[in-house]
């Protein structure tokens, strides 16, 4: 009869049981969370501003193209 168990399972179980998870003090945890919230808000704002700028640029380019098209059409009219 063969042993189908994962040969590393015993080692893994021992490691998980013996190696306690370490954590930071509560004040430190809260401080990092607070800073991260600020960073997240700033990053989201930057992203939104970039998206708005892109939209504005696209709208300007479309308007410019329409004006150019109108000028070409005007100049190209039969005299």
């Amino acid at each position: 009869m063969t042993d189908d168990r994962d040969p590393g399972a015993d080692v893994d179980a021992l490691l998980r049981a013996a190696l306690a998870s370490h954590d930071l003090p509560a004040a430190r945890i809260a401080a990092v969370r607070s800073r991260a919230h600020d960073e997240l808000r700033r990053a989201s704002d930057r992203r939104r501003r970039a998206a708005r700028a892109l939209e504005a640029t696209a709208a300007f380019a479309l308007g410019a193209a329409q004006v150019a098209w109108a000028i070409i059409a005007f100049l190209d009219r039969p005299s």
């Binding site: 893994d12 800073r35 990053a43």
Partner: protein, 193 residues
């Protein structure tokens, strides 16, 4: 953490949802810190690096790809920060570091408590004594429970290479622990050292 939950968190993080950040922070904070503490062997360094991991997540959140595997992404950032720190400072990890468990009041009896603390110390030392490449895969897979494909992605190696490295790391730590047990048994019998 299952794939659906990771996708949901990524979607919400991309939208700047602070509660999504809190959720992933609660789930992975201690794991990331423990990983870094065992890689560096120092709490203060691990604290600084862990903070940078979370700030990078916050800064990058709106630009994450929708199919980002979040746990693997976070451990990749943690590992890269550890490597950068190691390269910059050339700090040799001290065996055991300051991670040895604090003495606790005996629960069942002084001998049982002492034996348990001794096992923890032996395991911490055996893991700390591993070369970093073996230590990191053992911590990621055996302790933090990352799937082999995620661990391979974190370590930037193939899944097959990850599997072989993990097997070797398990053998090394098992050998170290067997050696420690043998020495302790020999000492208890009145033999060497």
């Amino acid at each position: 953490m299952d794939d659906a939950l990771e996708r949901d968190l990524v979607t919400r993080l991309r939208g700047g949802d602070a509660r999504a950040f809190d959720e992933i922070y609660e789930r992975l904070r201690a794991r990331v810190f423990s990983f870094l503490a065992r890689m560096t062997g120092r709490r203060d360094v691990a604290d600084d690096l862990a903070q940078e991991v979370w700030l990078r997540l916050a800064r990058t959140a709106p630009r994450l790809d929708p199919d980002t595997r979040l746990t693997a992404w976070i451990f990749t950032v943690a590992r890269n920060l550890y490597i950068s720190h190691w390269r910059a400072a050339q700090v040799a990890t001290a065996l055991g570091g300051d991670l040895l468990p604090e003495p606790e009041a005996p629960a069942a009896g002084p001998f049982e408590a002492a034996a348990e603390a001794q096992t923890q110390r032996q395991v911490e030392r055996a893991v700390a004594a591993l070369p970093p490449a073996y230590r990191e895969i053992l911590l990621l897979c055996a302790v933090e429970g990352l799937a082999p494909r995620d661990a391979a992605a974190v370590l930037e190696i193939t899944p097959e290479a990850a599997r072989q490295r993990l097997a070797r790391a398990r053998t090394m730590v098992a050998g170290a622990l067997a050696g420690a047990d043998g020495a302790a048994a020999s000492y208890r019998r009145g033999g060497a050292p």
